[in-house]
Symmetry: C2
């Protein structure tokens, strides 16, 4: 059974590795030239995209920014899962915010502006601490601006003056003093059945995810229920099929949705060794209409991204419970090169193992690790 | 980092899937024509064996019956692990028995005969219940004969009359009334460090492994210690590097070695989901001199081989704790097509899950399943 994934990065690669045991042959579309490649070694298959679509049981995506003409073709085949409307919601912050409003799902207070002159009114209504996000191509900290002081507004307006906000509106959000960021990842089957993973707790640095802890610390049944309800509400409204990730802010006992990612998600990589079924296997199970697998966590896990670091000393594998996933990409600053999963029985054991890991790592590339070890150590388990 | 595996079957495939996350590119040698292929889709790499050897960090095997001329070349590169002598011990029952005798490792009473006329004396000394095994190419029940009654000796001698026993001696073994078959699988690193997995309990049918349970039921520390000692004795004597499997018979509290397999082993497939590190990953870690991973079991597992059965209803994945590994081969009678791993917390839960699995399977291909469910259910946990 063949599944075509648009995008040939690490997410397609991890889908391939999860699919092979199930007899699912995952093929990747390099969207730069529409060629079909092996998701691991990137060798060309020699098959055309058209033939690959014809032969596939199912088409899916590893990222939401697939060129619209490719998505259109995929949608017309009737094989795309999740479907184009769901993918577009993840790619366009205006559609995303409209969906959340329509569904009455709590999210950050915001306004959508289509002309720079509307910014003053937005500041008036939302306050002077704002994040401005381009509706399209917002990804990993790109296409975002901040305002923290009303006096900087003229400078910001000049900076944004060249943008065609009628074509690509800005979402202007209130900057929140949230307690932490959580994500809920789950899968929805064609029959509407959903499963969700335990919530992950995500630590960012300069707009990039650096560390996820799953299950998140200090979860309450109230938080879990809210997250499940948010997931189900969104997934059902989109008639979603596949793995869906929802990033949320926690403020007190309340969850606000930050972003929807219509795909497997970096904050779910812990599930490869840390859950009964990985998010990659569950995505493939969902889109090919196989029974969904159990999402229970096995102990507690940390996922540590390897960012902008061209090689890593593999002796880190000597630390108990440690697994490496290397993506095989050429190095660039801020590029995700791989991740390390660390699994343990308790958070304090996890902290201990992360501390043992530290000497094996070029620590300048892991700016969140030390504080996270301290935080896990300070928990009252 | 590249690792070349001689043999392009399911074991190479599972090594590939375990290697990719570690940045290890596993390439397979199709020993029928010495071509280098992708172990999953079997597509040709276009690289010559010579170039592949040059580029590889390490060479290894997925089966012991690699043509000797290929093994010679591999050995001469200085990159083969385990080395040729160890592989030959697994391929040649005479070398195997000599090693066990030299190491004083308990094994089945036997004689090696190089002429059919020596068979009478063997019967005289070992009794009339015998298994005769060709020293070479003995694999999965091929090249074996049985004697259960002295009166059948003339017939058997006629049957064996055409064999060149001087070239390929016979190992004549006493047929044992053993309690059960167990296997110990472990890995040895270049520095001599070893790790072993919990013992697996193996159920055969017509000379083929059908079901493994791991950890084996009713283990005692005495059995575990014997197995570890047997493993260490053999692995050290061979200066072994990689995963090694030792099949054993249990009689009372005593373990007798039946066979040595210098490779990852069917009775270790449960480790993919059932252990902290799979045998495939540990083999690659050992041969590339990375730290060995933990071999602890996660709960209890059953590995159920899918034999001679061209397809399988994937709705079996609806049974909790169930994982499928499909090898993607064309079907032949008695051919291993894939396996199912079932994981549970207890043996009774395992029995329950196997019982739920049963209706999803063409049961005529799974002749050991029903009795194994009954046996697991009858255990006093």
């Amino acid at each position: 059974m063949k599944v075509v994934v648009y995008g040939a990065g690490q997410l397609a690669q991890m889908m391939y590795l999860a699919g092979a045991p199930l007899g699912i042959d995952v093929q990747a579309v390099d969207v730069s030239d529409s060629s079909i490649v092996n998701p691991v070694d990137k060798s060309s298959s020699g098959v055309s995209l058209r033939d690959a679509i014809t032969e596939a049981k199912c088409l899916t995506v590893e990222f939401e920014h697939v060129p619209v003409e490719l998505l259109n073709d995929a949608q017309q085949s009737g094989k795309l899962a999740p479907d184009m409307a769901a993918i577009r919601v993840g790619a366009d912050r205006v559609l995303e915010k409209r969906l959340l409003e329509k569904l009455h799902v709590a999210n950050c207070q915001h306004q959508i502006i289509t002309h720079i002159n509307q910014l003053d009114a937005a500041v008036e209504s939302l306050g002077e601490r704002l994040i401005l996000k381009a509706s399209l191509d917002g990804y990993d900290g790109y296409g975002q601006w901040r305002l923290t002081d009303k006096n900087d507004l003229p400078t910001l307006k000049r900076k944004l003056g060249d943008l065609d906000l009628a074509a690509v509106p800005l979402v202007v959000e209130q900057m929140l003093n949230f307690d932490r960021e959580l994500s809920v990842i789950g899968a929805r089957a064609p029959d509407g059945k959903t499963v969700v993973y335990p919530l992950a707790e995500n630590l960012h640095h300069n707009g990039q995810l650096h560390v996820s802890i799953a299950p998140a610390t200090q979860l309450t049944s109230e938080l879990n229920q809210q997250a499940k309800q948010i997931f189900d509400t969104i997934a059902q409204a989109l008639n979603y099929v596949g793995v869906l990730a929802v990033e949320m802010f926690q403020i007190g006992n309340k969850l606000l949705v930050n972003e929807i990612a219509p795909r497997v998600h970096n904050s779910g990589h812990w599930s490869i060794q840390g859950a009964k079924t990985s998010q990659f296997e569950n995505h493939l199970r969902a889109v090919t209409d196989l029974p969904l697998g159990a999402t229970d966590a096995v102990g507690v896990s940390a996922m540590v991204n390897i960012i902008g670091c061209g090689s890593i000393a593999k002796d880190l594998l000597s630390v108990a419970g440690t697994y490496l996933q290397w993506y095989g990409k050429s190095v660039r600053p801020k590029r995700k090169m791989g991740h390390i999963n660390v699994n343990a029985q308790t958070y304090s054991e996890l902290a201990e193992r992360l501390a043992l890991l530290k000497p094996h790592l070029p620590i300048e590339h892991f700016p969140k690790l030390i504080e996270e070890i301290a935080r896990l150590n300070s928990l009252d388990e």
